[in-house]
Symmetry: D2
Subunit: 331 residues, 4 copies
């Protein structure tokens, strides 16, 4: 292992890309040799908001330069571009941390439906939900980092489904800040359309729902909403537990699952709120059980650009390269 690892960032001008540059600048064993735009026709540019943090130039996308200059690449590219660049890098010996949805679905049929450009890979990607795939990370060559919505949902639910505590289907009501929709202006993300408003979208449109269902092996109704804030998501999750399940069992199951997880904070009945996790890599999880009805409500929140994107990628990078898991990631 070299003392300093040369990394590349492909898609450096977006919101997640800029977070990656900021986190990389804090990492004592990382040097960003190469930062690239999302296409090979973009102009060279600097990032004024990162002056004094990262003062390099963002150049057009080039697989050849990434191969020549880096050992690992963080990718925040459009799905079809990621589908092409990711395998090319892996084939030429570069490790890849992908933040798009391209490589997240294991089922070929589902993958063809939601990510038609994704090729079949000889070696399957590792799903980068760090807390539940820790053992697979050191040897991974292509890490498919989970999206912000699945991360919050799965961190809250996986220990409970693994322990067999839940019955029936799962309802996830998600509230997301607008940065989750990316940096490209659109009517839906126009300030005057979002300010003072809340709207649901993508009802029963299962792209993220499919990712959650894959990991839970259970039917999920997933409804995302846009709320008028910039960063952060909060999910309110409605499930049902068996008659014999108490709130104490829920609490101890979660506590055991995350005893060694530095970025999962369990808040119990004191429900988490977005303000406490923005600009951090934490995922906060709270819950409350109505014993008579068996209704369990969990609330999970995180910063979509950090724990839901750049932060989890760096967390996976740390585990792969043997650095302490929290390197560059504490607030």
């Amino acid at each position: 292992m070299p003392s300093v690892i040369s990394i590349g960032i492909a898609g450096a001008t977006g919101y997640a890309g800029q977070e990656l540059l900021r986190l990389a600048a804090r990492h004592p064993a990382v040097r960003v040799t190469t930062a690239m735009a999302s296409s090979d026709t973009d102009r060279v540019r600097t990032l004024p908001s990162l002056t004094r943090v990262w003062d390099g130039e963002v150049i057009p996308l080039s697989v050849d330069r990434l191969v020549a200059e880096t050992e690992a690449v963080f990718m925040t590219l459009p799905d079809p571009v990621a589908a092409e660049v990711g395998p090319a890098l892996v084939a030429r010996g570069v490790r890849v941390f992908d933040l798009s949805g391209t490589f997240r679905l294991r089922d070929p049929a589902l993958r063809r439906r939601w990510y038609p450009a994704t090729p079949d890979l000889a070696e399957p990607p590792v799903y980068g939900l760090t807390e539940h795939y820790r053992a697979a990370l050191p040897d991974a060559r292509l890490v498919a980092c989970p999206g912000c919505y699945p991360t919050a949902a799965l961190l809250a639910l996986r220990p409970l489904t693994d322990a067999g505590l839940l019955e029936g289907d799962v309802i996830i009501d998600a509230k997301s800040g607008i940065s989750g929709a990316g940096k490209k202006p659109s009517e839906r993300t126009h300030f005057s359309e979002c300010h003072g408003s809340v709207s649901a979208y993508g009802l029963f449109e299962h792209r993220h729902g499919a990712e959650i269902e894959q990991e839970l092996e259970r039917a999920v109704t997933f409804t995302p909403h846009l709320v008028p804030l910039d960063r952060g998501i909060l999910e309110t999750i409605y499930v049902r537990v068996g008659r014999a399940v108490s709130e104490t069992m829920v609490a101890s199951t979660l506590a055991q699952a995350y005893a060694d997880a530095p970025f999962v904070r369990l808040t119990g009945n004191a429900l988490p709120e977005i303000k406490h996790v923005t600009h951090t890599n934490f995922c906060d999880i709270g819950w409350k059980l109505d014993a008579p009805s068996g209704r369990l409500v969990l609330v999970a929140c995180l910063d979509n650009l950090i724990k839901g994107a750049a932060g989890v990628a760096v967390q996976n990078f740390n585990l792969m390269h043997g650095f302490p898991e929290t390197t560059a990631l504490l607030p």
Copy 2:
């Protein structure tokens, strides 16, 4: 029926009280003779933000003056104060439109739990959900106007439960602007605590849930959230329909129920958003059915200070006094 009706507003300095003054100023057959604070010890004050709209003085609370000067009183008082003032006014011949929770629950046990100050009344109040209690309003003496949360939920669900289309329990995930918490500063409504954040509160704390359950006769899980905007609520409602129920049946049931309701707008699959209803008396309702699973999701939204407070009170007033339902209420 007199040509101009003298009305009083008790609790005129709060957000709903100011909306009442604004609406009353637009009403061609109403004169606000008396505007009062929430207690009999408050100082006399004016309301600069309403200059040129309503230029009177807000005086201390006094039942005697309300009886002497008004025919109808709109009350936005703390529950225990409303519990005392409301029946006193009715006993002395004044009609009352109450915007607090005091008189909403019919079951004495529930009422004692959530509103311990509320007395037993000889003549039961009319529940002022206009669209479903229209016939009872002309003869009402005390109208218990529903809260903003129950209004959105019940307008979406009552036609479906009445038609027997739903199975199982109901989950209501509500997102509310901060004005719903009133005008009194607190840590929870401090700007810096709310801005950029979302938080759930009152999980399984059934005060509004009880009101919704009373009208639906069905178990309800109700989770309110604070979202960083001032006015407006949006509820995402998760229910299940029977195998034989199609989206068309849902649509036609709602369309029939609200064929003559000027303030309910059905948006179908084009889901409503808060921005479209703020500063109006409309309640917008959309929905989508996932036929294979039987999961029906409804989305309803309204302005908590108008359709959820001042507006519905004026709407009930109009029906009681024989004015067109929309008088003073169109945007």
Copy 3:
């Protein structure tokens, strides 16, 4: 004067256009016969947010149809389009209320610089700052309604410059909500760029500055800022008064100027704030004088879509047609 006047709205889908539709629907003597998009190639569309308020169709732009169907037209069109459509309508007998900047500048050289498409007109337009051009409105054929920035500045300053109370130049620091930038998405109006931020723009770029200087006949430094809210502007204005000028003189000069102006509210030392004027046609003006230094600071605010656009147009329409000035305009 006919009992009901047929009007057209050209540019009905933008934020100001929708406010015009809303205000027209409230006006007892107006019927919107014709609502048009901003170009002749736009598709026919409806406006779901105005359902039950105005349920017509927005059709492509057509001068012929406006001439055939209307007596007066409100225009919120791009400058070059307004430059062509406005004179064409006037020439064919239709009165025009223009909300663009096209016809506001009197000086031909300045006009050519800022609005190169504007033709020279045989009959000069009336500058529609109602409170100061009231006498000219009844006979106007083309009313150039002032922009939101000049309206606030001029209502605060014109009485003082007319009375000769001010010395030296004028500094106007303006804070504007994002709806002032229109409905078209752009990076500058993208939610995530505006939320939690403030930025200055257009420093010493004198398009609105020129309009203010025209009416004040005095040098103006005008600096607009975007602040993270939707509607409303607030201007903080720094001037200097002569030694003999007291705060009382300032107050009485303003009070006299606006004694009969229903939409100007003078708040004195109690400085106005945006919240009190949004969704109204009011302009609130406060001030404070530091007598030792002669520094006078005025603060003026208004709703940019109403008093700064749709509202002032309707106010001018009322005066032109002999309706009470406040018709359809009280909150």
Copy 4:
């Protein structure tokens, strides 16, 4: 110099106090031994939002314990409390970084007017505007860190007044996020009062103005405004330069003054915006000169809780103890 310095934070539960805890946790040579509330009667409490960052207990205020346990104390206390605690700590050998206004004014008359509780000190405090008082910091015992408003203004103006480039008085129009008003709820900082609004306050009320005038030796008109965001301030500064002064001279004067200042970023004609500095210790400064009129407008912005409070205190601490200036302070 010990390898690890024990520090105390007095006033740890407020917004600036929590930033201090976060920054201290990142500092490799600091250990927070003692975190205290703002009074000696407060209860012991933890800070859930800082779980995993700083997990200690906040205890009641106690000078004795601070003396026993710490070498340096960061104070964010109410002015009268700071006036008592600060000198007591210094007298007993503890170095103090004060974030209140208590010790900022040098003129005894002004100090008595604005901070009547402040005692006369044998050894005058060092004014902690790092970039301009760097030489005095290593030997300081009591550092009066400047407020957020003066910091932005002085970083923009001091080099220009020192170089004699300015003529006449100075106008500072400041826009501040609400966290600047602290954590205590009040009507002015109630969410529903601030959202969607802007308001000016404290016109010609010279507490911060006096601090700025002290450092500039020049008359200042200072007008702060509340804008609806949480963190960050932006100041638009209006001055006049002499006939011989060009924009290039302004630029080179500022560039020379801050050649070695890691936290001042000069943006020239590309005006800075709040979004680029929040959650950082940077102060961004841009400007534009209108040569014909001699009007120079500068725009400066910073994060009020970091560069305007906790960050500058740590920056001063670093210089005093010989650590690199940026330790713990890069984003």
